[in-house]
């Protein structure tokens, strides 16, 4: 197995583990962190291709993704804190009525 293929396989593994985490864990903050893991897995595949093809635009794109991910966290964390303030728990089961 060559290096590109190995890194893509690692990316698939991390993505699946992150997906399992989002679905099975109860704590909203932990689910958020598992989503970060999924983002990291996808970025790994992008970096692998960018490094393989020697593409500078790929690396610039990764930088933009990092900024957007940081922005996403900066909005998501206040929402988690508001949830905590509302019901005193982060168990997503307590917010089941939000499912409609």
């Amino acid at each position: 197995m060559d290096r590109t293929q190995f890194l893509l396989a690692l990316s698939v593994t991390l993505f699946s583990l992150g997906l399992v985490g989002v679905v099975v864990r109860r704590n909203a903050l932990v689910m958020l962190m598992c989503m970060e893991l999924m983002v990291n897995a996808v970025v790994l595949s992008l970096v692998t291709f960018a490094a393989r093809n020697g593409s500078a635009s790929g690396a610039a794109y990764v930088f933009l993704i990092f900024v957007v991910a940081a922005a996403e966290i900066a909005i998501a964390i206040p929402i988690v804190l508001l949830l905590q303030r509302q019901r005193r728990t982060l168990d997503v089961g307590a917010y089941i009525e939000l499912g409609g």
Binding site: L14, G21, L29, E36, A51, A56, A59, L82
Partner: protein, 168 residues
């Protein structure tokens, strides 16, 4: 030779961090697992020769995002029931779905050579040449990210304080 060994070592470390995230009970341990995964990925990027992205990964993800996350975890109440029971009722369907997705992607990966022919790019990913090229070609995008960050700051304040314009 040593590069291959390091590649496998950091890949194993990244996977181990992700597994810790799945089984750890306390969110702080989950955060530490995620930090371990991110640092291993940064090492992998450095091994690939993409030094700038390795630096970004450590600075932005581990330095900013995860420190923020750790602070929030310390603010939380440890008697929260979601700290004690780890898993929801969806354990079996979740694991099955993820296994299915992993199987499909893995089969795709194993069947053919991915990514098509190699494009002979000439980009230099070391810090100095890449930074010069980045700011010469992508200066507008770089500046636009600061607009995005400003919007996020305003948005975060609005989420925390905004209830019909008054302080929450």
């Amino acid at each position: 030779m040593i590069e291959t060994a390091l590649l496998y070592l950091f890949a194993a470390a990244a996977t181990a961090g992700a597994l810790v995230m799945l089984v750890a009970r306390h969110p702080m341990r989950v955060a530490l697992g995620l930090i371990g995964t991110m640092l291993s990925l940064a090492c992998l990027y450095a091994l690939l020769g993409v030094h700038v992205i390795a630096v970004f990964q450590v600075l932005i993800y581990v330095g900013a995002v995860m420190v923020f996350m750790v602070f929030v975890i310390m603010l939380l109440d440890t008697r929260d029931p979601s700290f004690v029971t780890r898993y929801s009722r969806l354990v079996l369907p979740g694991v099955l779905t993820a296994a299915l997705i992993a199987a499909v992607l893995g089969a795709l990966l194993a069947r053919r050579h991915v990514g098509g022919p190699r494009i002979a790019g000439v980009a230099d990913f070391r810090l100095q040449p890449f930074s010069a090229r980045f700011l010469a070609e992508y200066w507008l995008h770089f500046e636009l990210t600061s607009v995005l960050l400003l919007v996020v700051v305003v948005g975060a304040i609005a989420v925390i304080r905004g209830r019909g314009g008054r302080d929450g």
